[in-house]
Assembly symmetry: C2
Homo-oligomer: 137 residues x 2
DNA sequence: GCCTTATAGTTACCTAGGTAATTAATTTCA
DNA sequence: TGAAATTAATTACCTAGGTAACTATAAGGC
């Protein structure tokens, strides 16, 4: 019965990686959950909170909190949409000007975490994860 | 730059699996974090909280909370050790008598989550995860 | 022996993410 | 058109896990 071990190892890996990312982002005043939102917004431009939830597979309430913190820090603004229920979220100029710094911080920590792990293994792992996840969702 | 995708996929997988386990355990009145403790205690017999933290790679405060809930539910007891700072934790008879039910619940949900994922892939994924984790810790 | 340091556990407080219930705006449909 | 159902976002409250500060016990150095 290998299932228990797979789940446990995956859980530990996930926590470890998140912790390391948070540690690296701390000097920048950001948390990993905030970075995830910023990263998506940088690529997509403007999204409703619902769209952000769908992209990141997160429920609405935690998304509301993460965005409100980003708004308070001045990194994100919420614009009312045609549909008045929606809030269109986008990065501020301040966030755009800092993006490359943040991107470097995250790239560096990620590369450090992967540095001893051969690229072929990375690709294989990624492929397996993606395949499994696709079956589950 | 594959790193961001690996981290994101792994994070999503971990959340999804935990959510499914919690859902399955709900009728039994248990949470996945409690099950993790019970599972270790069943195999090891009696452990101090420190040892439990080390086995599960969890900090002391969340372990205290999880154990206190298990104590309140009558599934775990804390015995003072030779070293009076320590608390030796072990399963109660009540927990032992229910263990096989819980074990079946978790096995079933785990197997369900893995049912479409070939066993060779499971083994490969587990191997890669374990290898990576070993490098990180 | 005594004082300092280390360790086990707890408490308080933080982020991350989940469900349930609520509100306001939009759709649907009879 | 007007009532009912749906949807986007929020609020309140829960578990999960992290750090910092604290308490009580144990271990070491003098």
């Amino acid at each position: 019965m290998i299932s228990h071990e797979i789940f446990h190892t995956l859980h530990q890996l996930s926590r470890h990686l998140t912790n390391k990312q948070n540690e690296a982002l701390k000097p920048a005043g950001l948390y990993s959950s905030q970075w995830a939102v910023i990263y998506v917004l940088k690529q997509k431009g403007s999204l409703t909170q619902k769209q952000l939830c769908d992209y990141l597979s997160v429920e609405a309430p935690p998304m509301t909190r993460t965005i409100q913190r980003l708004v308070k820090q001045g990194y994100v603004k919420q614009l009312p949409g045609q549909d008045k229920r929606e809030k269109h979220v986008q990065l501020t100029d301040e966030a755009l000007s800092q993006y490359s710094n943040w991107e470097k911080i995250v790239s560096d920590v990620n590369n450090g975490l992967l540095s001893q792990f051969p690229e072929s293994s990375q690709k294989e792992l990624f492929h397996l994860q993606k395949t499994w996840l696709k079956q589950l969702v």
